[in-house]
C-alpha cells in the first residue's frame, strides 16, 4: 500500500504543474458564475490537447489507457493551482462503453472525449425525478427513424450541446423500466426547443429544460438494444455518483484553500465558530481526497459498479455542503457589496443532495443493497 508517487507518476505531476503555470484559464469557482460554464468547453479541449484529460480511458476512444491514479494526480494539481476541475463526463463515456455497439462507440466516444462534440443528458422529466422509470417521453418508430415527443428537465449544458443522451419509452406494453431505450439525439434540429433554468445562485448556463415535439433520431443511433435504456441509465447514474469520476475533490479543495488564504490575511477578523467551520471543511475535503484514492486504487482490480457509489455520493454531498457552510461563514454574504461568490458557492452546494439521485435515494440503496436491511412493507 502506497499513497506516494511512482517515478512515472512524479514525472507526470511535474509536467502538469509546469503546464498549469501558463495554461490556467483563471475561471471563477464553478458555482459562482456563467463565465465558468461558458469557458468549460475550451478548458476541456485545452486539457485534452495537452495530454491531461482522459488519462484512464481506453486508447481506442482517445484516452491514454493509464492507471486511474493519474486522474487523482490531475485533480490534485488542478486544485493546488486553483485551476477549474476537469470536465465531468466519465458517466457518459462509461454508459456508452458498456452498452453501445462497436459502431456506436467508434462514432461517438472520441468526440466526447476530445471535447469537440458537446453532450447533454436527457434523463429526468418534470414527473419522473427520483422515480426515473416512470418517464413518459416517447420514441415512436417511423421508417428508419424514431420520432420524439415529451419533455426533459435538469438537462446539463442543453444550450450548448450538439448531442443528447436521451432516455425515451419505446415499448408501452411492458413493465415501466423494461420499455425504455437510449438514443444519441442530434440537438440542432426542428422539433427541439431548449430553455435555460435559472438556479438559486443565478447561474443559467448549467441546466436547461428541453421540449421534443416531433424531433427525429435515426434508429441506428439507438445505444444498446431496445429496452436496454434502463440498464444504461443505471450504469450512468452509478458513475455519476462517484466523486472520483467527477473530479470534484479539486473543486472543494480550491474553495477551502481560497478561504484559508482569506483567513490568514486577516486572522483577527474571524471568530472561533468561523475558524471551526473552516477546519471541519478541511477535514471533510481531506477525507474525500483519501476516499477517492482508495476507490480508484480498487479499480486496478477491474471496474465494478456496485452500490458503493451511493456511499461515495453521500460522502461527497456532506463534503460539498460542509465546504458550502464554511464559504457562508468565512466567506461572508457581501452585505456591503463586493464579492458575492462565497454566497453563490454556498447556494450551489444545496443541489448536491439532489442531483444524481437524492441523498434519500442513496440511503435507500445503501440500506437495502449493502446493509441487507429488509424491504419496506
Amino acid at each position: 500500500m502506497d499513497f506516494g508517487d511512482s517515478p512515472d507518476e512524479s514525472a507526470f505531476r511535474i509536467r502538469l504543474r509546469t503546464w498549469l503555470q501558463d495554461n490556467n484559464p483563471g475561471l471563477p469557482a464553478s458555482s459562482t458564475d456563467d463565465e465558468y460554464w461558458a469557458g468549460m468547453a475550451a478548458w476541456h479541449r485545452s486539457l485534452y490537447d495537452a495530454g491531461f484529460f482522459a488519462m484512464s480511458w481506453p486508447t481506442e476512444i482517445g484516452g491514454q489507457g493509464l492507471s486511474p491514479v493519474f486522474e487523482v494526480i490531475v485533480d490534485e494539481e488542478l486544485a493546488a493551482a486553483g485551476a477549474p476541475p476537469r470536465p465531468s463526463l466519465g458517466y457518459l463515456v462509461q454508459g456508452i462503453i458498456e452498452h453501445g455497439s462497436p459502431e456506436i462507440r467508434r462514432r461517438f466516444l472520441p468526440g466526447i472525449v476530445n471535447g469537440r462534440e458537446r453532450w447533454c443528458q436527457g434523463f429526468s422529466e418534470p414527473d419522473a425525478g427520483s422515480d426515473l422509470a416512470s418517464l413518459r417521453t416517447r420514441a415512436d418508430r417511423e421508417g428508419d427513424d424514431f420520432v420524439l415527443s415529451g419533455q426533459k428537465i435538469w438537462t446539463s449544458y442543453s444550450d450548448e450541446a450538439e448531442w443528447c443522451l436521451l432516455l425515451a419509452r419505446t415499448d408501452h406494453d411492458v413493465a415501466t423500466h423494461r420499455g425504455i431505450s437510449a438514443f444519441a439525439v442530434p440537438m440542432r434540429q426542428p422539433g427541439i426547443k431548449q430553455r435555460p433554468l435559472r438556479m438559486i445562485n443565478g447561474v443559467t448556463k448549467e441546466f436547461g429544460e428541453v421540449h421534443f415535439t416531433g424531433a427525429r433520431v435515426p434508429a441506428a443511433n439507438m445505444i444498446g438494444e431496445p429496452g436496454e435504456g434502463w440498464a444504461l441509465a443505471m450504469t450512468v447514474v452509478s458513475h455519476e455518483r462517484e466523486p472520483g469520476e467527477l473530479g470534484y475533490v479539486a473543486r472543494y479543495a480550491k474553495v477551502v484553500n481560497d478561504l484559508g488564504r482569506r483567513v490568514r490575511t486577516d486572522p483577527a477578523a474571524f471568530g472561533s465558530e468561523q475558524i471551526s467551520e473552516l477546519g471541519w471543511a478541511m477535514v471533510e475535503v481531506e477525507m474525500l481526497r483519501r476516499h477517492v484514492q482508495r476507490r480508484l486504487s480498487e479499480r486496478l482490480n477491474g471496474i465494478h459498479h456496485g452500490p458503493e457509489g451511493s456511499v461515495d455520493k453521500l460522502l461527497m454531498t456532506w463534503v460539498e455542503q460542509a465546504v458550502g457552510h464554511a464559504a457562508l461563514s468565512s466567506g461572508g454574504l457581501a452585505h456591503g457589496g463586493g464579492d458575492d461568490s462565497w454566497l453563490h458557492t454556498y447556494l450551489y452546494s444545496r443541489a448536491q443532495s439532489v442531483m444524481g439521485g437524492t441523498s434519500q435515494i442513496q440511503r435507500n440503496l445503501i440500506a437495502r443493497r449493502i446493509l441487507g436491511l429488509p424491504a419496506s412493507s
Partner: protein
Amino acid sequence: MDVRLSPEQEALRASAAQVVARFGPKAVGQLDDPERRARLDAAVDESGWRELRGDTGAGVPLASGVEPALVAEELGRGLADVSFLGPTLAAELRRIAGAPPARSGETVGLDTDLGLLVHEGEPGSSPMVAIDTLGCDSAVYLVADADADADADADANANADADADPDADGYRLARVELGPTRSGLDLTRPSVILRSLSPPALVEGSQRLVTADDITRWTALGLALASADLSGVMGGAVALACEYAKERKQYGAAIGSFQAVQHMLADAFALTEGARSITLHAAWAVDALPAPDALAAAAAAKAYSARAARTVCETVIQVHGGIGNTWECLAHVFLRRALFSGDICGDASVNLGRLLRHHGIGAGNGFR
C-alpha cells in the same frame, strides 16, 4: 500510488479478525470472564503484533504504520479486551530512544486528557494516566531533559508540534510500575492513574534523547492507531445495529424495513467508510511523510474519526431503542470505547487545531 492492501497486509487483517472472532467478547456478560481474556491475550502475545513497531536492529520499525493500524481496526471492531495500542506506542518510544525492548507488558503514560506525552510541572503534582493496561505491569513516559545537547536537536525543534515543550532540548524515557487504580470509561481497556512520579526512574540503556520531531511523529502514530480503532468500533457497532434491526419487530415488521431506521444506519455506514479512507492514509503517512505533514494527516483522520464515531455509536444506541440504553447491550461498550479512543493523543477539537495550525490558521482563536 496504489493504496490497495498488499497480500501480506490482507493476511494480517484476516488473522487479527480471526483471533478476535475466536476469543473476543460476544456479550457484556463475557467481559468478566478472565479465562477467555487470558486466551485472547495469549493469542495476541503469540502473534507478535505488539512488537510491530519494535526495532529491526537498524533503528527502523519492523512494520509501517499501516500494519498496526489494520490490527487496531480489527481489535476495535470486535471490542477486544486486550492491550495493543498502549504497548505498541511504548515499543515505538523505546525504539526512538534506542532503549532495549520491554521485558514484560508495558504501556504508555499520558496526561489526564490523554493528549500529552511529556510529563510537565512539579514532580508528583499532576497525575498521569497509563492507558490500555491489561496485561501490563509498567508504563513509559517522557520527561524533559534540561542538560541535553542543544545542537543535536536544533533542526528537530524547528519542525516541532506545539505540544512539545519548546524550552526542552530533548526528552528522556522514564518508567513507572503500575498500581491497581482503574478508571471505568472504556470497559475493554482499563486505565491506571499514576500519582507518584517523582523522582522519575529513567529507563536504563536508552541510547539517545527523544527530540521534538520524534514526538511529532510518535503523536502521528498514536492518532493513526486510535483512528483505526475508531474505524473498527464504528464498523462493529453498525453491524450490531443492523443485526438487531433485522430481528426486532414492531407494527408487525422488522424495524430495519422502516426508512427512518434504514437512513440512520446508511449514514452511519457511510461515515465508517469515510473514516476508514482518511485513516488508511494517516497510517501510511506516519513514516512516509515529513513529521509535520504526518501529524497533519493524522490530526485530520482523528478529528474526522472521533466525531464520526460518537455520532455512529449514538445512532446504534438509538436503533436499539430502550434496550440500547441498558448495561447488557453491547452498544454502550462500543460508545465508551469510541469516547476513549476519541481522546487518545487529543480529542477532535485539539486535532482540528493541529490541522488549522498546519495551514497557518488558528492561533488565538480558541484552539489549543
